[in-house]
Symmetry: C2
Subunit: 124 residues, 2 copies
């Protein structure tokens, strides 16, 4: 992996592919310090976050990513701020929902974990 | 100021009020290390960022904030991740634009500066 944009793209592809196929497997991306704000509701720690994600009331979901932006988020650590916008197709609905999601990725060994995760639906 | 939500609200109110009234005054919120991604174009440092903001091709602008989310962004420093969504009314247009913006705020004396700033229009 190289610059922020490439790392962000790789993370976003991996994350939504995992989310759309089996979101219970996302647990390994979070730690006990991780925070999720899901439509304004706060969750802390891998267990609580994945419980929230796996109990969302849909069977089938597809993220279609429109934009990815990335910036280094610390002068001292190779952490990354990643902002995503796109469409969420829920249970094969013909009316995709706009979403916005922000992650902060923290380096950990040769990989990253998600410290911050903020998800919002955008209503037009 | 108290918790993340209150600080974020206070910052967002101040930032967009300043932006909508005289965006040249936003310079004091940025430092040389600050980064702006504006519709995918990168700018670094207070001078370059404010030059970009002040040369945006509109005379009159109004931000109508719909959602604000905030999370602490570091285990060691009182920095904050702030995610905003809302509507942008440009030159009194009857067709507001959806936007999404993310800030990372870093404490500095009794105040904060903006290290990260990512702005995107969201097209429905």
């Amino acid at each position: 992996m190289s610059g922020p944009d490439a790392i962000a793209k790789q993370f976003v592809d991996f994350y939504y592919n995992q989310f759309d196929n089996d979101r219970s497997q996302l647990a390994s991306l979070y730690r006990e310090s991780s925070m999720l704000s899901w439509e304004s509701s706060p969750f802390q720690g891998s267990t609580a976050i994945v419980e929230k994600l796996t109990t969302l009331p849909f069977q089938k979901v597809l993220h279609k990513v429109s934009t990815i932006d990335a910036q280094p988020s610390s002068p001292t650590v190779a952490s990354l701020l990643v902002s995503v916008s796109g469409l969420l197709v829920v249970d094969d609905s013909e009316h995709p929902l706009q979403f916005s999601q922000v992650f902060q990725l923290i380096p950990d060994g040769g990989s990253y974990y998600v410290l911050n995760d903020i998800f919002r639906l955008i209503y037009g």
